[in-house]
């Protein structure tokens, strides 16, 4: 399948790689299909999340465990059911990154991680009622702290 994108021009991928958000992302409920774009020559921490049905809708997402190895939360039962999650090891988690003009000030949203069932590629953005995690967790800073 081929789509046009603002950031990558025309890209081609297999339909089985489409990640389906049954509810969409909060604020973008009408767009349910996304594709994760991984640059081979990078560190693997950050990826692009590109909407399949809207060329200019793309996000940077990251592996939150790289900045917070002990990040943890309970996936609500309703989400486990909806995504058809059977085993914990099938779950992939990423968080959405806001990249401002000064990229050293980029933040990631640990309060609303994206949970993906890697078996069927169904996903949902989960809102955590957990005060330990911030909407704007600094990425670069926490890397230094962790070291």
């Amino acid at each position: 399948m081929k789509i046009d994108t603002r950031h990558f021009g025309e890209i081609e991928f297999q339909e089985k790689n489409i990640i389906c958000f049954c509810r969409g992302l909060l604020g973008f409920e009408e767009f349910k299909r996304y594709i994760l774009i991984d640059n081979q020559d990078t560190g693997g921490v950050f990826k692009w999340l590109q909407a399949v049905d809207r060329p200019d809708l793309a996000f940077i997402v990251m592996n939150p465990y790289c900045i917070m190895p002990d990040y943890e939360f309970d996936i609500p039962d309703g989400v486990v059911e909806k995504l058809g999650i059977e085993k914990p090891e099938d779950v992939a988690v990423f968080t959405i990154v806001v990249v401002p003009e000064d990229i050293s000030k980029m933040t990631t949203n640990l309060k609303a991680p994206v949970v993906v069932n890697s078996v069927n590629n169904k996903a949902e953005q989960v809102v955590l009622e957990d005060d330990r995690y911030s909407l704007k967790h600094p990425v670069a800073q926490s890397m230094k702290d962790a070291g």
Binding site: H7, G43, V98, V99, V139, M143, A146
Partner: protein
């Protein structure tokens, strides 16, 4: 907007399967008990709105190089997992 008056321990039902009960009222705070189907998401409105805002802010509208972002992580890059 529908406005209803309820006392402690009284409830309202929304549709067929969502029940909201007033558990306590103290110091201007109302504690609610909510029974709803598992696939109904329930959030404090301001949390929900703040996440919508955050998502909107996260939409990439300019050129970003993942390599540049990676360079912000250099100190611990080797420690990644998952």
């Amino acid at each position: 907007m529908l406005i209803l008056t309820r006392k402690i321990d009284e409830s309202i039902v929304i549709g067929d399967d969502i029940v909201i009960k007033v558990v306590s009222v103290e110091d201007g705070k109302v504690k609610l008990g909510i029974s709803a189907p598992k696939d109904t998401s329930i959030h404090r409105l301001e949390v929900y709105q703040s996440i919508r805002e955050e998502n909107r802010e996260a939409v990439v509208s300019k050129e970003i190089s993942i390599k540049d972002l990676d360079s912000m992580l250099q100190p611990k890059k080797m420690n990644e997992k998952g």
